[in-house]
């Protein structure tokens, strides 16, 4: 399974699914399926999303679950 940070990135930028879908050329429901992990994007779509958010592809998609931001903040506070 491929994990992704799309919901977080979308919320951070106040983007609707429809706006993101139009930007990368897919149906808005496809973004929902993608966020939920029901569908793994092609390399082309992954690169389009990466370019849209201006982030390296590994910041958006990973084979391992992403560490929650709250945990990262706690870990940082402990050190």
């Amino acid at each position: 399974m491929v994990h992704n940070r799309l919901p977080v990135l979308r919320a951070e930028r106040g983007l609707s699914r429809k706006a993101l879908a139009e930007a990368v050329g897919v149906n808005y429901q496809t973004i929902g399926y993608l966020e939920r992990g029901d569908f793994n994007p092609s390399l082309e779509l992954a690169l389009k999303l990466s370019a849209y958010f201006g982030l390296p592809i590994e910041m958006l998609f990973s084979l391992k679950p992403f560490t929650p931001l709250s945990q990262m903040a706690n870990d940082k506070g402990d050190t």
């Binding site: 609707s16 897919v26 429901q29 973004i31 399926y33 939920r36 029901d38």
Partner: protein, 170 residues
């Protein structure tokens, strides 16, 4: 093979997964049931105005066609029947899976029917057993439209039963 009715607005009709499961099942089951009833009870009464078998069979066939009409313009039917350049990669993946599944089912049913035809024609001249086989124009006509209906509905039925629930609207 599949068709999709795209209205003037270009929008698809919203259909719930539960409704799609019912509608596709009815479309697939009512047609052969109607044909079977017509075959088994062609005109069982002495009175020609009481054609129970024919009427009941026709009602079931009409029910099957009505069930197909309820989802001919749905988003499910769009995925299997729309022009490919109007679908995105997720929809294309679903379409490929639906068509692969329906090909397997359709090919299996066709092979089974050919085997049945072979056996029934083999027994034609024997006194051992008599099996029904299509003879009249009506028989072949019913088979043709049945095969067409299955080719159109099987991919949609696959989607209705396997597609993950749509994400909630924001």
């Amino acid at each position: 093979m599949s068709i999709f009715y795209r209205g003037r607005s270009g929008k698809t009709q919203a259909r719930s997964p539960a409704m799609m499961k019912w509608a596709t099942s009815i479309a697939l089951l009512a047609y052969p049931a109607g044909c079977l009833i017509q075959l088994l009870f062609p005109d069982t009464t002495e009175r020609p105005d009481l054609r129970f078998g024919e009427a009941a069979g026709l009602i079931l066939v009409a029910t099957s066609l009505f069930a197909f009409a309820t989802f001919a313009a749905s988003s499910f039917q769009r995925i299997v029947g729309e022009e490919t350049d109007k679908l995105d990669e997720f929809e294309m993946e679903l379409r490929r899976k639906a068509h692969a599944f329906s090909y397997q089912v359709f090919a299996s049913l066709t092979l089974l029917f050919i085997i049945y035809l072979g056996i029934s024609s083999d027994l034609l001249d024997s006194d051992r057993l008599t099996l029904w086989h299509p003879q009249t124009y009506n028989h072949w006509n019913a088979l043709f439209w049945g095969a067409t209906l299955y080719a159109l509905v099987l991919p949609t039925a696959y989607l209705a039963w396997t597609m993950p629930a749509a994400p909630e609207d924001e």
